[in-house]
Symmetry: C2
Subunit: 206 residues, 2 copies
Amino acid sequence: MFKLYYAPGTCALASHITLEEAGADYTTERLNFKANQQNSLEYLAINPKGRVPALATDRGVLTETPAMLVYIAQTFPTAKLAPLDDPFALAQVQSFNSYLCSTVHVAHAHKLRGARWATEESSFADMKRMIPKTVGACFELIEKQMWRGPWVMGETFTICDPYLFTVAQWLDGDGVDIKSTPKVADHFKLMADRPAVRKVLEAEKA
Amino acid sequence: MFKLYYAPGTCALASHITLEEAGADYTTERLNFKANQQNSLEYLAINPKGRVPALATDRGVLTETPAMLVYIAQTFPTAKLAPLDDPFALAQVQSFNSYLCSTVHVAHAHKLRGARWATEESSFADMKRMIPKTVGACFELIEKQMWRGPWVMGETFTICDPYLFTVAQWLDGDGVDIKSTPKVADHFKLMADRPAVRKVLEAEKA
């Protein structure tokens, strides 16, 4: 039995969808970011980073989306969410997810989380102005250099798909028109139609 | 046969050391960052991101350090560089490496790579002033919350160790005294004494 700590609108959605796609037995706990619950003593005892997602398991708590996604895929191998028997293909999956985590998500984070890296209002404003360009450039690279289709890795759905869908949810707020990357836009629609995705989005809204 | 594209002083060192620790058959190609060789048309054909590291293999090019490290560990299982038969333990390895990649390296990158996220000189100066604090906070979290010792994951050397050593090389230039995290400081010395590490550092200097 797993317990996923999440907040709506965050990258925890990728793990939430993946748990559902895997057919995992799990519960969720929603954190109230407006009340800064992620930095409460109670939650810091679970995840000292003060971030979501965190996945409580029988053996301890896991954090960091790329690690959690592979772990879920390995724990539910019959769901076939990653090429577990092919190290090179798995590395390609991991490379894509690592790019989302350390470049795309980081670019996006400069819109509202500038205080992680600077102190002045003028710097925050400068960072915000760059968002459409930086996030847009990431998605252009995905569309033009990394894309296979219809899923991220080609014919087979993998743990890259929920993660891309999650990050693509932020495009509108980031001032990037998803239509400028039509393959990603098609993928977004495909994902939104999956029963697991619908169920999770409903649960996070409720 | 692998070919590693790297530049001295970059996070490519982690993959370089890991290839050596694995006993891999590999060659290297050094990129001249001062001449902006990472953005030459020739290199962009290898890695469209214009970054290092990149690992050329018989099946194609891999990028992103966390993905490459697991791939090397899986390709050379007798080197025992990761807990490949234990998904939870592997997830802990991946979680640590993902933190280095998406939080610690990103914090460090705001010293010289501010132009990735902003345009104004005042913003770059603001970011630079934050470096000792942000990078220092990352290493304090590693020391106080994640540490097992003597290696990152405890008694066994893993792919976390070359990566931490690589990022810790930047501490001095980032204005963080490694002695303020004595366990990380001890680890740094342990790593520097390994024959594979000495050999790779010599090769990158030559």
